[in-house]
C-alpha cells in the first residue's frame, strides 16, 4: 500500500523542467525548448525568436518569421547520466563523502516537425503554423544490481542476487496550431492551441537471479512487477504578444495557463481514479514538516507560466543579438507544497564577418521533486543552472542549419529507490551477521548527481 501511495503521490505534478531523469519517471519530463538557435541562447526567445519553433515559447514570434512559407525539422538527442551514492563514513564514523553504488547512462532521441505560412495584406500580416512535437517524455531507464557480499576479498566478482529496474516508456505528443497577427511588423499577437495526447508505461521490476533462487527455499522468493499505464489527454493554450519598440529593442510576453490533464489508466491493475488519501506537507521556518494539504484522487497538471523578455540588437563590430527572458511559474497554484519560482534565461548571438554565428547562453531554472517522509509527502527544491552553446550555417541561401548543446547538472538528496529491507533474507547473504538490511530514511539518504547533455540539430527551409 505504501508503494501505491508513493507512486500516486508523484502523479500530481509535472515536476521537472529539464528532463529524462528517473526522478521524473512518473511526473514526466518536459521537453522544453526544441529550437537549436534559441536553445543555444539560453532558451531566451520571448522576444527575439526568429525560428518556427520559437513560436512554442511565444506564439507571437510566428509573424516575425522570414518569407511566406517555411518548414523546420528538429532532431533532439538527450544524453543523461545518473550516479546514485550513499553516505560514506571514515574510521571515526564521521561522514566524509558519498560513494556511488549505481550508475546509469542513457540517451533518448526525439524528432519534431513544423511548417508555417505567412500572408501579408497591406499593413497586416497573418501567420499560421502547424507542428508536431514531444511535449512530455516518460522515457527513463534505471538498472541496479544487488550483489552478494561473498567472494569480494580476492578481487572476485560478487554474484548478483537481484536486478532492480525501472523502465519508463511513452511520450505525450503535442499536435499544435499557432496563429499570429501583426501590424507593420510593429506589434504581433499570437495564440497557440495544442492537443496533448499520449500513452505511457512504467514498469518497476525486481528480478531475483537464479543463484538467489538456488540459495533460498522454494517459494520464498518471487519476482516483483509493478506497472503503471496511463493515457494522457489535455489541451494547452498559450497567448503571446511581441512588439518592436524601435529597430533595436523588442519586448515579448507569453502566458500559458495551468494545464489539467485527463488521466486514465491503471496502477497494478487498479484504476487510477480510485480514491487514495494522501497527506502533503511543507517545512515551516523551524524545518518541521507541517501538513498543509491532502488529495483524494489522482490528478495531473502543469503550472501556469508567464514569460516576458526583451531582445536587443546593439551596434557592434559583430552583428549581435541579446535575448533575455524572465519566467514566473505558479507552482503554488499547482499545489500548496510548492512555492512560486522565477526562472531566468539569457543568451547572446555574435555573427562574425563570415556569417558564422557563435551563440552562448545561460538559464537558471528551479523545479521540485516530491519526496516522502513518515507517511507524508513534501517538496524539495532543485536548482538547475544550464550552460548553452551553439552555431549554425546557411546553405544555398534558403536552408539554415542550426546546432546547439546544452549542459545541465543537478544534485539532490532522495530516498533509496529500492529499500534494503526487501532483500533481508538470511540465506541470501554470505555474511548476514555483518549486514544491517534496514531501510535507509532521511538520516542517510541517497545523493543523486545527474548530468544532462542535450544536443539539437535543425534544418529550416524558408521561401
Amino acid at each position: 500500500m505504501r508503494r501505491y501511495k508513493l507512486i500516486l503521490i508523484m502523479l500530481i505534478i509535472i515536476g521537472n523542467l529539464f528532463g529524462y531523469s528517473v526522478m521524473d519517471r512518473i511526473a514526466g519530463n518536459y521537453t522544453g525548448n526544441l529550437d537549436p538557435r534559441s536553445a543555444a541562447m539560453g532558451s531566451a526567445a520571448a522576444s527575439g525568436g526568429n525560428r518556427f519553433f520559437d513560436s512554442l515559447i511565444n506564439p507571437a514570434n510566428l509573424s516575425f518569421l522570414p518569407g511566406t512559407l517555411g518548414v523546420q525539422l528538429n532532431t533532439t538527442v538527450m544524453v543523461t547520466s545518473e550516479n546514485r551514492s550513499l553516505p560514506m563514513y571514515n574510521s571515526f564514523d564521521a561522514y566524509i563523502d558519498d560513494a556511488t553504488y549505481v550508475s546509469n547512462s542513457n540517451y533518448y532521441p526525439d524528432i519534431s516537425l513544423g511548417a508555417y505560412y505567412k500572408k501579408s495584406m497591406q499593413d497586416i500580416q497573418i501567420a499560421a503554423g502547424l507542428s508536431f512535437y514531444p511535449y512530455l517524455s516518460f522515457d527513463s531507464n534505471y538498472d541496479e544490481q544487488v550483489r552478494n557480499n561473498a567472494n569480494s576479498d580476492y578481487n572476485n566478482y560478487p554474484p548478483i542476487i537481484a536486478r532492480n529496474s525501472l523502465e519508463g516508456d511513452g511520450t505525450v505528443y503535442a499536435y499544435d496550431l499557432a496563429v499570429a497577427v501583426s501590424y507593420r511588423e510593429f506589434i504581433s499577437l499570437g495564440l497557440e492551441i495544442a492537443k496533448l495526447s499520449g500513452e505511457t508505461k512504467l514498469k518497476r521490476k525486481i528480478n531475483w537471479s537464479d543463484q538467489a533462487f538456488d540459495m533460498t527455499s522454494e517459494g520464498e522468493l518471487s519476482d516483483t512487477l509493478n506497472t503503471l499505464n496511463r493515457d494522457f489527454d489535455g489541451l494547452k493554450f498559450t497567448i503571446g504578444a511581441r512588439t518592436k519598440i524601435n529597430s533595436r529593442l523588442g519586448v515579448g510576453f507569453a502566458y500559458t495557463p495551468k494545464i489539467e490533464f485527463d488521466l486514465k489508466g491503471k496502477a497494478d491493475g487498479t484504476d487510477l481514479d480510485e480514491a487514495v488519501y494522501i497527506y502533503y506537507a511543507r517545512f515551516d521556518s523551524l524545518q518541521n514538516l507541517q501538513i498543509s494539504d491532502s488529495l483524494t484522487f489522482a490528478d495531473f497538471n502543469s503550472p501556469a507560466r508567464l514569460r516576458s523578455g526583451f531582445s536587443w540588437e546593439p551596434r557592434n563590430i559583430m552583428r549581435t543579438y541579446l535575448n533575455c527572458d524572465f519566467e514566473y511559474v505558479w507552482w503554488s497554484d499547482a499545489n500548496k507544497i510548492f512555492a512560486d519560482v522565477m526562472n531566468y534565461y539569457i543568451g547572446v548571438e555574435h555573427r562574425f564577418s563570415n556569417h558564422l554565428p557563435l551563440r552562448i547562453g545561460f538559464n537558471y531554472q528551479t523545479s521540485y521533486s516530491v519526496e516522502w517522509d513518515s507517511g507524508i509527502a513534501f517538496a524539495q527544491k532543485i536548482t538547475e543552472p544550464t550552460f548553452t552553446l551553439g552555431t549554425g550555417f546557411t546553405f544555398m541561401d534558403r536552408f539554415e542549419f542550426d546546432f546547439s548543446l546544452s549542459y545541465c547538472n543537478r544534485k539532490y538528496e532522495t530516498l533509496d529507490l529500492f529499500q534494503d529491507s526487501f532483500y533481508d533474507y538470511e540465506d541470501l547473504w554470505a555474511n548476514y551477521y555483518y549486514l544491517n538490511l534496514e531501510d535507509r530514511g532521511w538520516e542517510n539518504p541517497d545523493t543523486v548527481k545527474e548530468n544532462f547533455y542535450k544536443f539539437i540539430a535543425a534544418v529550416n527551409y524558408n521561401w
Binding site: 564514523d93 558519498d98 560513494a99 546593439p314 552562448i360 549486514l435 538520516e443
Partner: protein, 870 residues
C-alpha cells in the same frame, strides 16, 4: 560657336564635379537607395551602418557581402565618408577604457567595493590640478611619492597640462604616471553627462569551498560508545540537506548624479540563503546594502572638500590598524600596488556583512586639515554560549566573539538543529555554544583627525568606541577549554598554546578569581598614524591601543599594536620595508593591517573541527577578517635591472606569531626574462619555513615551490602560456597513515621526516576574436600527494590540495554594446582526495564490510556576470 562649346564643356565638367555626394554615415535608407545599387544592397549598407559600425572609409563597404569590387568602384565618386559617431562623450570615454572597466568589474573579495570608486574615476575623470594628496594616493598603483610629486608641482603654482607634462614631474615613477593618466584630465572640462547608473548581476554556481564543506559535515553527535551513529544528518550538512545549496547571486545597482550625489543598493544571497526574489522589505533592510552620499568641493576661505554618507559605508584610516571595515582578510596587505587601501569614507556595496558599518559618516577636508566623523548602528552575528548555565543559549547569555558565517542559517534553523542534536539518543555533546544571527546591537562612534603641515606629510589620530547591548565575556581558561572542546581524556592535549589567541579575546566584563575586574559595555580603540616623504622615500606608520584599564590618555599601558614602513622608489626599482608588532590581546575586530597569517591559524578552531563542541566555530578561522597577532619584518621589491630582465616581485617576511612564539620565514621571488618581445620566461620560487625554532614540533614544516612558465604573445593580443609547478613540503610524519603499509595503523616502524611533493602542469590560452569578444581557458593536471598549490583562474582563485586531478575551464567575455559587458565561465574539475587515496590503497576492507571504490569527485561550476552601465 567654338566659344560656346568650350563654355559648355567647362560647365559640364564643373557640374560633374559638383554632384552631391551622399555621406554614407548620415544618409537615410531612401538616400542610399537612390544610389545605383539594388534595394537589397542599399539595405545591406544601411543595416551595416546601423548594426555593425559607422564607415571609416569607403573600403569598409567591402565588408558587406553583397558589395563587390565593381559596385564599390561604381559608388566611389558618388559617396563620401564623414567622420561620424553617435557615441556621446561618456560613451567614447567608456570605449577607451573598456578594458580597464572589465578588469575592475571582475575584482572580488578584499578589493570589492573599492573598484566602484575607481570605476567612477575612470568614467568621469577629474582634473588632476584640483585633486588632493589622498585622492591621488587612493588611485590604483600610485605611491605616496607619486602623489607628492604631483602635489608639489601644483602647490608651487604650476599646473599639469598633459600626460607628457605629468611624466616630467620630478619624483613620479613611470608606473605611477601611467596609472594616474587613466583617471585624470588636465584642463577644466564640463561633465559630459549628469546621471550615471550601473547595474551588475553576478551568479556563481560554485558550491561551498572544501574546508567549509568539511566543517559542515563534521558530526555534532558523540556517544561514549566506540561506534558512533553513522547517519548523515548528525551534521549541519546532513540536517539541512546542503547538497542542494549551490547558487549565490549578487544584484548591485549604483547611481551617480554629477560628481556630487551618489547612491547604491546591493543584495547578495549566499548559498542556501534567501534570494532577492524571495525577500521581503525587512529582509532587504537587514541583509541588503545601500547608501546615499554627497561629495562636494568648494571654495570658502580656502579649498574645502566635504563628503557625507548615509547608509552603508566603508571607513579606512592609516594602515588599517584601528579601522578598516571589511569581512575579507588578505595576507601581506602592504597598502601598496595591488593591496591598495582607499583611506577615508566611501559608500559600501561590497559583500561585507559582519563588519559593515551602517549609519552616517562625514569627511571634511580643508587646506591642510581633515576631519572625519562616523556613527554606525547595526546588529551583528556572534558566538553565544550558555554563560548562565540554564541549559539554553538565550538572549541573556554572554557573547564570545564576532563571527562571519559561511552560511547564515536563521536563528530558528540553528535552534532546531541544536534541539535535534541535543535530543539524539545517547548524545553526550550538548550544544552549549553556537553562532546566532543579529545577536547584539553594535553602536560605533568614531572619527579621524589629520593635519598635513607639508606635502606628503601628515599626522593623524583615529579612534572609535563600539558600545554593545550584550556582554562579551571570555571565560577563564579551564572553563573556556571545556566550553569549546568536550571534556574527555584528550582535552588537555587538544588545547594548544596557540589557542591562547582565543583566551586573549576582549571581554567587556572581566572576572578573575570570582571577582569583577571591570564591567563595561564598550570597546575603545584609538591610535595615531603618520607619513612623511623625504626625497625618494616615504615613511609611514600607525600605533594603536585597545583600552582595557580605562586610562585613555596613558600610552603603552593597554594592548597595543604598531606598524611602521618605508617605501623607496627609483625609476626601475621600489623597496618596501616594514616592521609590525601586534599584541596578542589587541583584539580589534576592525583591524585589517598587514599580517602573514590568518587569525586563529593552528588553534582549535582551525585544526580540531572534529573535536569542537560546535563545528560551526571553525568559521571563526575560515572567515576570520582580523589580522593575526604577530611581530616581524618584511621586505618587498621590484627591480628592472635590464630591459629584458625584471625581478617582478620579491619579498621576504620573517615573523613570530604572538600566541605561541612560532617563528616563520617566507620568501618568494618572481623573475621575468624577455629574450624577445613576444616571449616571456617567468621563473618563480617560494620558500616557507614554519616553526623555525623548534624541529620537534608537530607543526614544523618547510615548503619549497618552483614554477616556470613560458608565455608567448601571438598576433592580436592572443597569448598562450605553458607552466609547470613543483612543490615539496618537509614535515614530521603522521604515524597513523605513514607506518608500515603492510600493517595499516601500525606504528612499529622507524620514521624520519616526511616529504610530500606535488607537481602541476598547465596551459592557458587567450584568444581575442576582436576587441569585443575574448575567450580564455585553461587546462591543468596535478599530482599533489597532499601538498597544496594555488591557482589563478580568470578572476578567481582555486586551491589544489587533492591527491591528483585535472581541471579545465573556459571563460567568454563579450562586450555586447558600448555599455554592456557579459561574461560566462564554465569549469570542470575531477580529482581524488587524499583521504580516499589512503582508503583505496592502505586500508584493506575487512570481511563483511561494505567497500565502495567509486567516490565521485567531480565538480562543475558556472559563473555569469552582466554589467550594464548607462
Amino acid at each position: 560657336m567654338k566659344n560656346f562649346v568650350v563654355i559648355m564643356a567647362i560647365l559640364f565638367v564643373s557640374l560633374a564635379h559638383t554632384v552631391v555626394q551622399i555621406d554614407l554615415n548620415t544618409a537615410s535608407l531612401e538616400e542610399i537607395k537612390s544610389l545605383p545599387i539594388s534595394d537589397e544592397q542599399a539595405e545591406d549598407v544601411y543595416y551595416y551602418r546601423y548594426y555593425i559600425d559607422f564607415f571609416s572609409s569607403i573600403y569598409d563597404l567591402r565588408n558587406i557581402e553583397s558589395i563587390d569590387q565593381e559596385t564599390l568602384l561604381r559608388l566611389k565618386p558618388l559617396i563620401k565618408i564623414s567622420h561620424y559617431t553617435d557615441l556621446d562623450e561618456t560613451a567614447q570615454r567608456r570605449d577607451e577604457i573598456a578594458y580597464l572597466i572589465e578588469r575592475l568589474g571582475s575584482s572580488e573579495g578584499f578589493q570589492e567595493g573599492i573598484s566602484d570608486v575607481w570605476e567612477d574615476y575612470l568614467t568621469s575623470s577629474r582634473n588632476i590640478n584640483n585633486l588632493t594628496f589622498s585622492e591621488i594616493l587612493n588611485l590604483p598603483n600610485t605611491s605616496p611619492l607619486d602623489a607628492a610629486a604631483v602635489m608639489t608641482r601644483i602647490a608651487a603654482g604650476d599646473s599639469i597640462s598633459s600626460f607628457r607634462d605629468l611624466r616630467q614631474s620630478q619624483g613620479i615613477s613611470y608606473y605611477g604616471a601611467s596609472n594616474i593618466r587613466h583617471y585624470v584630465h588636465y584642463q577644466e572640462q564640463d561633465q559630459p553627462q549628469d546621471l550615471y547608473m550601473d547595474y551588475q548581476f553576478k551568479l556563481v554556481d560554485n558550491g561551498y569551498p572544501e574546508d567549509a564543506r568539511e566543517m559542515l559535515r563534521e558530526s555534532m553527535i558523540r556517544t561514549d560508545s566506540d561506534e558512533q551513529p553513522r547517519i548523515k544528518n548528525k551534521s549541519y550538512w546532513g540536517y539541512f540537506g546542503m547538497e542542494n545549496d549551490r547558487i549565490s547571486v549578487l544584484n548591485k545597482f549604483r547611481l551617480r548624479y554629477l560628481k556630487d550625489w551618489k547612491a547604491g543598493m546591493m543584495f547578495h544571497s549566499n548559498l542556501g540563503e534567501r534570494t532577492l526574489f524571495n525577500s521581503n522589505f525587512d529582509n532587504f533592510i537587514d541583509n541588503g546594502k545601500y547608501y546615499l552620499g554627497y561629495e562636494k568641493q568648494f571654495d570658502l576661505l580656502g579649498q574645502n572638500f566635504i563628503k557625507v554618507y548615509a547608509g552603508h559605508y566603508r571607513a579606512t584610516f592609516g594602515e588599517g590598524l584601528v579601522m578598516e571595515n571589511t569581512d575579507f582578510w588578505s595576507p601581506r596587505s602592504t597598502g601598496y600596488g595591488f593591496n591598495k587601501r582607499i583611506t577615508g569614507i566611501i559608500g559600501d556595496l561590497s559583500r561585507t556583512q559582519e563588519y559593515a558599518l551602517r549609519g552616517i559618516a562625514m569627511d571634511w577636508k580643508r587646506n591642510n586639515f581633515n576631519a572625519v566623523f562616523f556613527v554606525s548602528s547595526d546588529k551583528k552575528d556572534a558566538v553565544v554560549y550558555d554563560s548562565n548555565q540554564d541549559g539554553d543559549i538565550g538572549d541573556d547569555d554572554a557573547l564570545l566573539s564576532y563571527i562571519t558565517l559561511t552560511r547564515r542559517f536563521t536563528n530558528h534553523e540553528l535552534e532546531s538543529a541544536e534541539t535535534f542534536f541535543n535530543n539524539y539518543d545517547n548524545n553526550l555533546n550538548t550544544v552549549g555554544i553556537a553562532p546566532r544571527l543579529d545577536a547584539f546591537e553594535e553602536t560605533i562612534i568614531g572619527g579621524h583627525l589629520e593635519y598635513s603641515p607639508l606635502i606628503g606629510t601628515h599626522l593623524g589620530l583615529t579612534a572609535y568606541e563600539a558600545t554593545y547591548d550584550r556582554d562579551f565575556i571570555v571565560p577563564e581558561i579551564d572553563e573556556l577549554k571545556a566550553l569549546l572542546i568536550p571534556d574527555d581524556e584528550y582535552a588537555a592535549e587538544k588545547w594548544k598554546i596557540t589557542s591562547n589567541e582565543i583566551s586573549a579575546l576582549y571581554s567587556t566584563k572581566s572576572i578573575k578569581n570570582d571577582s569583577t575586574v571591570y564591567d563595561r559595555n564598550y570597546r575603545r580603540v584609538y591610535g595615531f598614524d603618520w607619513r612623511t616623504v623625504l626625497g625618494n622615500t616615504s615613511f609611514q606608520g600607525e600605533y594603536a591601543e585597545l583600552e582595557v584599564d580605562g586610562k585613555i590618555f596613558k600610552l603603552g599601558d593597554d594592548p597595543k599594536a604598531l606598524i611602521i614602513s618605508s617605501y623607496t622608489q627609483f625609476e626601475n626599482l621600489y623597496l618596501i620595508s616594514m616592521y609590525r608588532d601586534y599584541d596578542l590581546d589587541f583584539d580589534n575586530p576592525y583591524a585589517r593591517t598587514f599580517s602573514e597569517s590568518e587569525r586563529y591559524d593552528d588553534t582549535v578552531f582551525e585544526s580540531l573541527t572534529y573535536a569542537l563542541n560546535n563545528t560551526l566555530l571553525t568559521d571563526m578561522y575560515l572567515n576570520a577578517g582580523q589580522s593575526s597577532a604577530e611581530k616581524g619584518i618584511y621586505f618587498e621589491t621590484r627591480y628592472q635591472f635590464h630591459n629584458k630582465i625584471t625581478l617582478t616581485r620579491a619579498y621576504l617576511d620573517v615573523w613570530e606569531r604572538k600566541s605561541d612564539s612560532r617563528r616563520g620565514i617566507r620568501f618568494e621571488a618572481k623573475l621575468e626574462f624577455r629574450p624577445l618581445h613576444q616571449l616571456r620566461l617567468r621563473p618563480r620560487y617560494k620558500y616557507q619555513l614554519k616553526r623555525a625554532e623548534d624541529d620537534q614540533d608537530r607543526n614544523r614544516s618547510q615548503t619549497d615551490e618552483f614554477e616556470m612558465s613560458f608565455l608567448v604573445y601571438l598576433s592580436n593580443f592572443d597569448k598562450i602560456n605553458f607552466g609547470y609547478v613543483y612543490a615539496q613540503v618537509l614535515q614530521p610524519p603522521y604515524l597513523s597513515i605513514l607506518s608500515d603499509p603492510a600493517q595499516p595503523g601500525g606504528s612499529d616502524m622507524a620514521q624520519a621526516q616526511t616529504l610530500t611533493h606535488g607537481n602541476m602542469i598547465y596551459v592557458d590560452y587567450t584568444h581575442n576574436f576582436n576587441s569585443n569578444l575574448k575567450v580564455n581557458g585553461n587546462f591543468s593536471f596535478w599530482k599533489c600527494h597532499g601538498a597544496s598549490i594555488w591557482d589563478f583562474e580568470d578572476v578567481e582563485l582555486d586551491f589544489e590540495q587533492t591527491d591528483r586531478g585535472y581541471k579545465y575551464w573556459f571563460a567568454l567575455h563579450s562586450r555586447i554594446a558600448n555599455n554592456i559587458f557579459f561574461s560566462i565561465k564554465f569549469k570542470y574539475k575531477e580529482f581524488i582526495t587524499r583521504d580516499l587515496e589512503f582508503r583505496l590503497f592502505n586500508e584493506i576492507p575487512e570481511e563483511g564490510e561494505y567497500y565502495f571504490p567509486r567516490v565521485e569527485n567531480k565538480e562543475t561550476s558556472l559563473r555569469l556576470q552582466l554589467d550594464w552601465k548607462f
